[in-house]
Symmetry: C2
């Protein structure tokens, strides 16, 4: 079903070809995780909810794959926090920016930033670093689901707290983030929304050790491989 | 470079959308293997060469991804054995069959089977089971690089010796095959061709234990994950 959603979005022009290949990479890692939310991911989702609730300017960065796979969920999370939505594309074209913005509005978003960039993330090629002053540029906490490694690193260098959703715990994005959620995006976003509801008004969660967390996620995959191997007849 | 080749082939109509996603899954497993030919894959490539050389009707089944990624290599292997080439698509359309057939001919193939199917692989939906009597239907040894699980199983049920190239040692195709080459297709095909050159005239290789072989390949991934985890700072 997710694969069909992505293919439809590709045909409509929202998803780039490289986005289809990236989805396949995610599928492979999800398969190794047993296609479920591992306990480590749930801890990271809880930490993410706390960071987003306690931010002064939280922003959710949306790309084609996220918009294609879970537009309702991402709009719902933005409303629950509340946080701003900004479209940010690796392969930026006006056409794709417009399609994704419209798609998010069709799924309930009132305001979507990104169409009129007036700021630049330092250290990135011009088109890839475009963002808005009101949104990503001035954000203190940014949720960047399915982000590429360069941009995840550049946002961290700006001193931002970054939350990445990435099924590959070894990717550059996963390593660059303040909090990495090793989970599939359509499972992760509603879970964060759930924790946002539960944690509102609570004091900020304690500091999150992302390196320890990623090591645990890798161990989870290793164990899963070991079990799959044992089940091999 | 491989990703660009695939995207170009997708734009020309040779590769299906699902083929792009499948390529991404392969990339993830290749990453875990260190993007190199593991010793277990080399053993399987050697076994494959022996089986193809000693077959009475060896056939290489070609789909969109294989044609896009390594047309010269696949034609070269067919000539070296010699073996027949047959186009066999999961998402079969006349347009894609024609494009792939032409692409193989443009890369030196003299004869390409598949456009005029006159036989049916038992147990598969009509369009997916179409093949030629001269080629896959009567083959004793079939090389099916990047094959889907259903067809890999159906060919085995027909009593054929099947050689699958699949980066995921846990996939249904990998498990269904007589010999599974856990390697990236553009590395695997030229290696098989190399062994075909070295092994011509030699007696058939001893029986290949594919289950043991797949367990070793899985161990290789597990070890690689363990090392990547240790390198994590």
């Amino acid at each position: 079903m997710k694969r069909d959603r992505l293919i439809q979005a590709y045909r409509s022009g929202m998803v780039a070809e490289a986005g289809m290949i990236a989805h396949g990479r995610g599928e492979a890692f999800d398969y190794l995780l047993g296609e479920c939310t591992i306990p480590e991911a749930e801890e990271a989702e809880m930490a993410a909810a706390s960071l987003l609730l306690n931010a002064s300017n939280p922003v959710i960065s949306v790309n084609g794959n996220v918009a294609a796979l879970c537009p309702e969920a991402v709009v719902g999370l933005a409303k629950a926090i509340p946080a701003k939505l900004e479209v940010n594309l690796f392969y930026r074209t006006d056409e794709r920016m417009k399609l994704i913005t419209k798609h998010l509005k069709d799924h309930g978003a009132r305001k979507v930033l990104g169409m009129k960039p007036d700021a630049q993330i330092p250290g990135l090629e011009h088109a890839r670093g475009l963002c808005t002053e009101e949104g990503i540029f001035s954000a203190d906490v940014v949720l960047v689901p399915l982000e590429d490694g360069d941009r995840a690193q550049a946002l961290r260098k700006m001193g931002k707290t970054t939350i990445v959703i990435d099924l590959n715990p070894l990717s550059r994005s996963a390593r660059a983030a303040s909090v990495t959620i090793v989970d599939e995006v359509t499972r992760a976003i509603p879970k964060i929304t759930g924790f946002v509801g539960e944690m509102r008004g609570l004091p900020p969660a304690k500091a999150f050790d992302n390196e320890l967390h990623l090591r645990k996620a890798i161990d989870r995959i290793t164990n899963s491989l070991f079990e799959l191997r044992c089940a091999f007849k």
